[in-house]
Subunit: 170 residues, 2 copies
């Protein structure tokens, strides 16, 4: 349902407009899909849907979240380089804008949140190869094929990661 004119003028006084709410909602869902908390999605969504840079107290006000949520959420977003800090003369507060390149954000996410898992997976596969030596002859071929398949999966995952960034052209 659309906002009527009376609601709209209210919204313009400082709250979020309907389109912003819709964008934030969409971003929250994507964040969830990536295993990120709702608050992180909300903050990025808000910044992404804001024409001007916002300080933390404004984020708190607009999203109705606590100061600590905002601070921790922004910390996560900074670590993913999903937000940029704007310089505003005569301002003490940090003002944030959204990094608009999804490709950058997602490739940072993959590098920092996914790759480490794949790396430790490779180490585990090496351990499995060693353990194959202890397996009895009649079971050897079964276990070898299992470990082999896991290794192929690991390689496929490693090929996939750069492709993901490559396919996102924005």
């Amino acid at each position: 349902m659309r906002a009527n004119p009376a609601q709209l003028s209210l919204l313009l006084e400082g709250d979020l407009n309907e389109l912003q709410l819709e964008i934030i909602n969409a971003v929250v869902r994507m964040a969830k899909l990536m295993g990120l908390p709702k608050s992180v999605g909300e903050i990025y969504g808000l910044l992404y849907s804001s024409p001007e840079a916002l300080p933390m107290d404004r984020i708190i006000e607009l999203l109705k979240i606590s100061l600590s949520s905002a601070s921790m959420g922004l910390k996560t977003l900074r670590s993913l380089r999903a937000v940029k800090v704007a310089y505003i003369p005569g301002e003490r507060r940090d003002f944030y804008t959204a990094e608009e390149s999804f490709r950058k954000i997602i490739s940072n996410f993959l590098k920092e949140e996914v790759s480490p898992h794949l790396e430790s997976g490779k180490e585990r596969l090496d351990i499995m190869s060693e353990l194959l030596a202890d397996v009895s002859d009649e079971e050897k071929s079964f276990y070898s094929s299992r470990v082999d398949r896991l290794q192929q999966l690991s390689k496929a995952a490693n090929k996939l990661l750069p492709l993901v960034s490559h396919i996102i052209k924005i």
Copy 2:
């Protein structure tokens, strides 16, 4: 650390061997990455690392999980077609084996767990396009470009899904 001979003989009496434990561990991590509960990863990992089909009571015994966890975990795995039910003459219980094709499992997972999100995302993008009409002229170009980028991201995601299955050759 490797099991010493005394431990090994114990393991052979009916417990899991070290290689199986390692495989289960690896699968549990992958499952987590896909947002699946630990028990689901454990059950698939056990079946994947078992040379013969296993009934539910054996799964419970080996993994030390409750009957209901096992039942629900197998339900999830069946819905992803990640397990197959073996027919064993004269057996009342269902015996399970792991679907060994990761490509099949992952493509089912994407179809059932990821695609619906992308579809509902498309609908939300349509709503955003409509809401653009309500935006004032000076803000129109900003919001248009934001919605446009989200649309491009949605398209990229839709291109990516089939690629994922394609790159996993096993």
